[in-house]
């Protein structure tokens, strides 16, 4: 039934003004991401400019929510963003804790977090130890998340469950509850995937996590955010996700503070659709900068 319900959201027909508003909202929720071994300072600077001015021909567009990079590039990103007033409001998210596998000693992972925060990261995207979780040592996973949360200081924490490795909805739900109970505070996130494992985010997985967020909110009053990541490339998909959030958690979650898209190519598709609405015709992908 979870898959059936998730599929229902994709049958909503979003047209005209609703489409325009949805595309803009989705753009403002993007965590513009580059997580490759070959990432260079130049690429990250370019990404930051894109984050602040997604489409130079349309100044009315919002900035994206954040840029998401490896710890070594946090400093570069923060410095580039801080060059403009608009850029100062864009967060720098850093993956940490031995991303993407998390197969490192806890001290190393915590050090990774502290360094990223010191370098200026506003948000930390951690990975849980799937090995421990699947082995049934959930208490240890809980303690680790709590320790990472403490190391984050003022930075918001996003807990990546890597749902593609958990496989079942039961485990996704259990991991969601575990993460939220391990001391996450308002506007911290749970996140589906690293983007390095297939399958990454799916509608069904996201629905199960949204339901967990809803139940956690009613139990504790704390609003946790949701970030599906990986595999969301088209505007249409993004609108489906927004429909799902709106009809599962309601209006309060329809903000970048509580919902994000972890994506690299989604932004350009959103821009292409927005340009099409503005100009009446489709542009070439080459009309938009890659980063």
């Amino acid at each position: 039934m979870a898959d059936r319900r998730a599929a229902e959201f994709t049958t909503r027909s979003i047209k005209t003004s609703a489409k325009e508003a949805g595309l803009r909202l989705a753009l403002s929720m993007v965590d513009l991401t580059t997580l490759e071994g070959k990432d260079s300072p130049e690429k990250v600077r370019s990404l930051c400019r894109k984050a602040v001015t997604p489409d130079p021909t349309d100044p009315s567009l919002p900035t994206v929510a954040a840029v998401c990079v490896y710890p070594e590039l946090v400093k570069v990103a923060r410095a580039e963003l801080d060059k403009s007033e608009a850029g100062k409001k864009v967060s720098v998210a850093s993956v940490a804790t031995g991303f993407p596998s998390g197969q490192y000693p806890l001290e190393v992972r915590l050090y990774d977090v502290r360094r990223a925060v010191e370098a200026g990261a506003n948000e930390i995207d951690m990975v849980i130890s799937r090995g421990l979780f699947l082995a049934g040592q959930r208490g240890k996973v809980f303690d680790e998340i709590a320790a990472v949360k403490e190391s984050c200081g003022d930075a918001h924490l996003k807990v990546i469950l890597e749902t593609g490795e958990l496989e079942t909805y039961d485990l996704v739900r259990a991991a969601s509850d575990l993460a939220m109970n391990a001391g996450l505070t308002e506007h911290d996130f749970i996140k589906t995937s690293t983007g390095k494992v297939n399958p990454a985010a799916t509608m069904g997985v996201t629905l199960v996590m949204l339901e967990a967020i809803r139940d956690h909110y009613f139990k504790t009053g704390v609003k946790i955010g949701m970030k599906p990541a990986g595999g969301i490339r088209s505007s249409k998909q993004a609108l489906h996700y927004l429909v799902m959030v709106k009809e599962t958690l309601g209006d309060d979650w329809m903000t970048p503070e509580l919902f994000r898209f972890g994506a690299s190519s989604l932004a350009n598709d959103l821009l292409m659709q927005l340009a099409r609405r503005r100009t009446g015709h489709y542009m070439s992908p080459d009309d938009f900068s890659e980063a």
Partner: protein, 498 residues
């Protein structure tokens, strides 16, 4: 309003509520396909649409979402029924002599043509009956096509369905169908009859004859031999004339139990076979070990699908006491995102009530429910259109087994919520009804599921799902929900003799 109501029962939840407002409202998304509708329609008899004479009487087919008359449809007289039965009789010899393979070809052709004209049929179905386009587009029309495809496959394999026997067609079948799934019910009736070599006189419901007439056009396009299917439109009197006709070899009826009893009597008088698919008051049982969010979806599709105009609707909800409050709370949230309105808007979840008369019936039960002491909940906000027949999805709590709303079929988006403590109690109360069409079980425990499924008196039992249909799966009831099966290999039995 809703916040107020919840504050009385759960003061804490007041501060923590989900807001389902207008923050990102979906713009209207009307279906753009325009369907041509003639001013007047005749019957389809012997391969031709009848032309009106001076004495022909018409009645209007109304769009229940705006009360406008879509077109005029012919009121069938006894003479019309005579002609139709005669045509079916004349066509019988040729049709049953045709090899199964050839009959199958016609059925395949019809199925493909339904697919090709799917959008048109879906729009027409929503205009004539008030059901949301997403349902007519995604459920009614594809399933109708599937029934023709499925039975096309059986046409030349009947001997395998009845090993060591020699299945022969029954003859001329009189078929009377209801207004809740007009095209789909026509397919359920016609496809197996034709596959088995019978000929048909079909009477669609008075309020929803248009898609059946469109189906007649499709038969015509597929060059189905004249008289194999005849369609006579009209009200109850036409139905009675058909049911009591001496020339029939079989009666098949889907509709209310009260009319079904009359049909059974008419069939008994002439000693002809009869299959009935009648009303229901089906239980949907939720255990505390179920996945509650999934179960909520099952409740929604169980009772609010097609405005509750579903004979197998899960209209009695039994929730294990320990999760009752949680289920009700989640059901209320979920219902806030149901969109009631224009059936032709692609984002509409719940459309218009089929007719003025049905709306009056539903409203009468809503009144009775409150008078009996149950509490009605209508979680969804927003205005319904001023014109048309509308009923917001709702449910009753505080319902007792003896209440009328827990015993009688309402056939609307109205749910009766009750609780139970033990599985034994659930079974007992679920079976304590004159009906027995369907039942739903929600639990993550397989052994419990099978234990219950064996004890529930219902023709169809869904486990961790509800209102799922397939041409390969037999459908039908126990007790006053009728007898005989439709669909699947078992459904063929009603259309053959040995």
């Amino acid at each position: 309003m809703n916040e107020h109501a919840s504050s009385q029962t759960e003061p804490k939840a007041d501060a923590r509520s989900l807001r389902f407002g207008e923050s990102w409202d979906y713009a209207p998304a009307p279906e753009s396909v325009k369907v041509e509708i003639a001013e007047k329609y005749g019957h389809y008899i012997n391969g031709k649409f009848t032309t009106p004479t001076k004495t022909t009487k018409f009645f209007g087919s109304i769009n229940p979402s705006n009360e406008k008359v879509l077109c005029k449809v012919t009121q069938g007289t006894k003479k019309d029924v005579d002609k139709a039965v005669d045509a079916a009789k004349s066509a019988l010899t040729g049709w049953k002599r045709l090899s199964g393979k050839e009959r199958g070809k016609y059925l395949y052709r019809i199925a493909r043509r339904i697919q090709e004209r799917a959008r048109e049929l879906a729009v027409l179905e929503s205009m004539d009956g008030g059901k949301p386009i997403r349902e007519s587009r995604d459920v009614d029309v594809p399933l109708a096509a599937q029934h023709f495809f499925y039975h096309a496959g059986w046409a030349d394999k009947l001997k395998y369905a009845f090993p060591n026997r020699d299945p022969q067609p029954v003859g001329v079948c009189g078929q009377i169908i209801p207004w809740n799934f007009p095209l789909l019910m026509a397919a359920w009736k016609i496809a197996p009859a034709l596959a088995c070599g019978n000929t048909v006189v079909l009477k669609p419901a008075e309020t929803t004859p248009l898609t059946a007439l469109r189906l007649a056009e499709i038969f015509d396009e597929c060059e189905l031999p004249a008289g194999v299917v005849n369609i006579v439109t009209g009200d109850g009197a036409t139905g009675q004339a058909l049911a009591e006709h001496k020339g029939l070899d079989k009666l098949a009826f889907t509709g209310s139990t009260s009319v079904g009893k009359k049909i059974a009597a008419a069939a008994a008088e002439r000693d002809i076979p009869c299959t009935l698919e009648l009303g229901g008051k089906s239980p949907n049982i939720i255990f505390d070990d179920a996945s509650i969010d999934q179960a909520i979806e099952g409740i929604i599709s169980g009772i609010y699908f097609n405005q509750g105009h579903v004979c197998c609707a899960g209209s009695r909800l039994f929730v294990q006491e320990s999760v009752l409050d949680e289920v009700i709370r989640r059901l209320e949230w979920r219902m806030k995102s149901l969109r009631v309105g224009d059936p032709l808007d692609k984002n509409t979840d719940v459309g218009a009530i089929n007719s003025k008369a049905q709306l009056a019936t539903i409203n009468r039960y809503l009144k009775i429910g409150s008078e009996e002491g149950a509490e009605v909940h209508v979680p969804g906000g927003g205005e319904v259109p001023a014109k048309g027949y509308w009923c917001r999805p709702c449910f009753f709590t505080g319902v007792q087994q003896s209440h009328q709303i827990a015993r009688e079929e309402i056939f609307g988006p109205v749910l009766a919520v009750m609780s139970f403590r033990t599985p034994e109690e659930a079974i007992q109360r679920a079976n304590n009804t004159p009906y027995g069409l369907s039942a739903g079980i929600w639990t993550d425990k397989g052994s419990k599921m099978f234990e219950l499924a064996g004890k529930l008196k219902a023709g169809v039992i869904w486990c961790n799902t509800f209102n799922r249909f397939d041409a390969a799966s037999p459908f039908g009831g126990y007790k006053e929900s009728g007898f005989g099966r439709e669909g699947g290999m078992q459904g063929l039995r009603g259309y053959v003799k040995f």
